[in-house]
Symmetry: C2
Subunit: 150 residues, 2 copies
DNA sequence: AATCAGAGTTCCCTAAGGGAACCCCAAACT
DNA sequence: AGTTTGGGGTTCCCTTAGGGAACTCTGATT
């Protein structure tokens, strides 16, 4: 489709999209997260075309999000999250929180999250990494950073 | 490209992708967030094809993320975030945090976030909406919810 | 009347996704 | 030994979405 590459933009949103912004990628990460580590498992679960799944897995491995490792003498591998990939799960958690809130409808959320810390069903919300207080989008000023484009 | 629709899956990640998962959509929201509210502004800033921008804007308006409103007697409109759209910015903030951490490189992050609450340069991290403690992805149990597929 | 500017349309071309069939390889039957 | 099985992909063709440039429409403005 001769798609524009986002990787070269001076924008961390665009750069992140360059890694996991392609169709299916977040869903593949979700599957790996919940223990579907093998090609055929993921393919069957998502109903994704095998061709596209191959492309996405290769891309995620290339970008350091997934690790491909053998689990048998035969040429069999499974995919696991790298530390970088594990941190990406935060993005999925926020998507879940938003989707649960606005799109779950009558039936309610398809999956519930229980927080180990307090043992309660909950969801993710954003807080300031510095002071720990809530940090909604409106409570932020944007300033040019060192990597800003000229 | 006869793309599979994610909207019907019993998964809040897939449903959220159905709203903002298409190429460019998060970047369009970012632009609107920082005050680029008009078609030509966004088009010039992103370098997106006008055709695709039209499609994306219509989709985001249809899904209740943006509001299209006139600002002149002439047929001129600008796009603003709805409450639903404003909450989606959390997703962008997490993308920024991740991209800043893993992809900013030597130059450092292109944009800095200052939190109103504490006045410090910071970034978003996830906490439990129930108890307020940090909630990394590993500290969560997933349980079937009421809207789970059979 | 002619021009202008914002906000799209239209058209063509290329490339990406879907889908089904096919392939490769090591192990496990028979 | 020969065949089957099953994971993990390739290959091929078809359709459709994105890129890009040109064109249009509509009220101002000159």
């Amino acid at each position: 489709m001769q798609r524009t590459s986002f990787g070269d933009m001076a924008c961390s949103i665009a750069r992140t999209l360059d890694v996991v912004g392609e169709p299916w990628s977040p869903l593949i990460l979700r599957d790996v997260w919940v223990g579907m580590n093998r090609f055929d498992q993921i393919q069957a679960d998502l109903g994704i075309s095998r061709k596209v799944l191959t492309e996405r897995l290769n891309h995620l491995v290339d970008r350091g999000i997934l690790d491909r490792r053998p689990y048998d003498q035969r040429p069999r591998h499974e995919y696991v999250l790298t530390p970088q990939g594990t941190e990406l799960l935060q993005l999925l958690m926020v998507m879940v929180a938003w989707g649960d809130r606005w799109l779950a409808g009558e039936a309610g959320p398809p999956v519930l999250y229980r927080h180990h810390g307090c043992g309660e069903i909950s969801h993710a919300s954003l807080s300031c990494a510095h002071c720990g207080a809530p940090m909604p989008p409106g409570d932020i000023d944007l300033l040019a950073g060192p990597g800003a484009a000229q």
